[in-house]
């Protein structure tokens, strides 16, 4: 049984339908990447999952239980963390305080010090700068802080909204390396990624979202080789997009 499921979700804004039947199914411990051209509905899907937008129909289930329309706090209580796309640290708080904010909804008996210690093990840079204000960190470091803040409650599933958006190419590999490390500790990862090639390199499985529908899914490493995916995703011109350089330029 899948850990997390999106079942035939339709959603949109006013009269504009954006999602027209999205199905996603993620197994526990998987790392799944959602790709698709701009406007395909990736961010809208995450808004629905995270309770920021009500779908017109469909269902979102976590461990076979509906989590549709739950507050962000309730989702955290279920073990689902959401890491925002843009730079979202608290710049005038220290790194330690930022981490503590992540534990705002911690249940009774939660060991904050132990969890912070674990985050420092995973991200040693954060320990070195624990008393520094988060505003002094670079873009990549802030992303690490956000991961740590999202992970501090020990979630079972994290939703990553374009984790490498706006980062320098050199940093992108580091960030994915960390995501992989997080995934290896048993945390399920569902992410949207614009850096398609890199994202697919690290993910186990991928979904291609096009025009508000999930068109394909399959193992991440060969999904771009499927002609119908390339067709849909690259907007035709399969022949020209054959070579490495060609497809990268288009992505």
């Amino acid at each position: 049984m899948a850990q997390f499921e999106v079942d035939d979700v339709h959603a949109g804004y006013d009269d504009l339908p954006v999602l027209k039947g999205v199905d996603v199914s993620v197994e526990a411990g998987e790392m799944v990447c959602m790709i698709g051209p701009n406007g395909a509905g990736k961010s809208t899907l995450f808004r629905v999952i995270y309770g920021l937008l009500s779908p017109t129909s469909g269902e979102v289930r976590y461990r076979n239980e509906s989590v549709l329309g739950l507050s962000q706090r309730a989702l955290l209580d279920h073990g689902i963390a959401y890491i925002l796309q843009r730079d979202a640290v608290f710049p005038d708080m220290t790194i330690r305080d930022n981490l503590e904010m992540g534990a705002y909804t911690a249940p009774d008996g939660y060991d904050l010090e132990a969890q912070i210690g674990q985050m420092y093990d995973l991200f040693p840079m954060l320990e070195e700068r624990a008393d520094q204000n988060a505003g002094t960190l670079s873009g990549g470091q802030r992303q690490m802080l956000e991961f740590a803040r999202g992970l501090i409650l020990d979630p079972d599933l994290i939703l990553l909204d374009e984790p490498t958006a706006g980062l320098a190419p050199k940093i992108i590999d580091q960030v994915f390396g960390k995501i992989e490390e997080i995934n290896e500790t048993g945390v399920t990862v569902l992410m949207i990624e614009q850096n398609v090639k890199t994202g697919l390199q690290y993910a186990d499985r991928a979904y291609v979202l096009e025009d508000g529908q999930t068109r394909f899914s399959g193992p991440a490493d060969n999904i771009l080789d499927r002609p119908e995916v390339r067709d849909a995703y690259l907007g035709g011109g399969t022949d020209e997009a054959d070579g490495e350089g060609g497809s990268e330029a288009r992505l």
């Binding site: 507050s71 962000q72 706090r73 955290l76 963390a81 959401y82 890491i83 925002l84 979202a88 640290v89 608290f90 710049p91 005038d92 708080m93 305080d97 904010m101 992540g102 705002y104 909804t105 505003g135 803040r149 999202g150």
Partner: protein, 332 residues
């Protein structure tokens, strides 16, 4: 120079620990407590009473505007709610302001929460504009509402003044301690709040509401707490103001500049800081009272001109206020 002084103040304050804060505060409070024993200069006493009153209003505004980051341009509504409630209960129903002032604070808090419920979905300048619109609407209503005295307002009956039950006094001295006491109480409250979980969550919402929400913080709820506390303090100030001037009308309690005065003291002193509103009120009221009395008659508006220049310099050289929470970095 102002920058250097402000930096110095900020450094000195943040460099001290809690024990030194309290010792320093006790010293200032001690000095202020004996001032009336040394002098009975009317001008000085009146200026200090007004500094206490405006500093406390600044505290009230600062909880919502400075800590939670919700810039209200309509706090005169809560000020008037407190002032009118106190005056109506006393003048119409004979209920002592000892009861009336707290009731006024509660009424102001209810009004504030209703205003918040209607406007908290709006962010940034949209929220500010909505609160300003509310202030303008309430002002028009009070000008026309006969039951609350319309444009002429409510006057305290002279015959009943001077008794303890009326909480009105001849001379400034009792007001000095009454309003000063409330200022002290509010300052202590903000000092504790600044370091509390509530203070941290409000600052987090201010810095990045979406990030705070993704950590599970219910922004609407905490903004409502801030609005409730802010309105309560502002409403009590309104009640104290009514007791002090013994006469309220829409022109004085609800005028447009009242909204701005309240914000000004917090901004000048240092938005989102514990002592900022008091320091801002010190600068603002001193300039205003001095120019008002020494340049009386034709140049009545000059105080605002001078204060405008002060404000201009502060916004140019010290945009975070005299005490700067952000250590010079404000535009982020």
């Amino acid at each position: 120079m102002a920058t250097a002084v402000g930096d110095r103040l900020t450094t000195v304050w943040t460099g001290l620990d809690r024990r030194h804060h309290l010792a320093l505060a006790a010293l200032v409070v001690g000095v202020l407590a004996v001032v009336p024993l040394v002098t009975n200069n009317e001008f000085l006493m009146n200026t200090l009473v007004l500094i206490f009153l405006f500093g406390t209003m600044g505290h009230g505004w600062n909880i919502l505007g400075g800590y939670a980051g919700q810039v209200s341009l309509g706090h005169a509504v809560m000020f008037a709610a407190g002032a009118y409630t106190t005056a109506i209960l006393f003048v119409y129903y004979g209920i002592t302001p000892i009861v009336g002032i707290p009731v006024g604070g509660v009424v102001a808090a209810v009004v504030g929460l209703a205003l918040g419920a209607a406007t908290f979905r709006l962010r940034y300048h949209y929220f500010a504009m909505a609160t300003l619109a509310a202030a303008l609407i309430v002002r028009v209503i009070f000008f026309r509402w006969e039951w609350v005295g319309g444009a002429t307002g409510i006057e305290y009956p002279f015959a009943e003044l001077g008794t303890l039950a009326s909480l009105t006094f001849r001379g400034n001295l009792p007001y000095y301690y009454l309003i000063g006491g409330f200022a002290l109480l509010t300052t202590l409250f903000v000092y504790v709040m600044d370091r509390s979980k509530l203070g941290t969550y409000l600052k987090a919402i201010n810095m990045d509401q979406a990030a705070a929400e993704s950590a599970g913080i219910d922004a609407f709820r905490y903004k409502s707490y801030a609005m409730g506390l802010s309105s309560l303090i502002t409403g009590v100030c309104g009640g104290l103001y009514a007791q002090y001037v013994l006469y309220i009308d829409p022109a004085s309690t609800l005028r447009l500049l009242r909204n701005i005065d309240i914000i000004m003291v917090a901004i000048v002193g240092g938005i989102g800081t514990v002592l900022g509103p008091l320091i801002g009120a010190g600068v603002f009221i001193t300039v205003r009272e001095y120019t008002r009395t020494s340049l009386s008659g034709t140049q009545t508006g000059l105080g605002y001109v001078i204060f405008g220049v002060v404000l201009l310099f502060i916004s140019m050289y010290r945009p975070g206020g005299i005490l700067n929470r952000y250590g010079g970095r404000w535009d982020d």
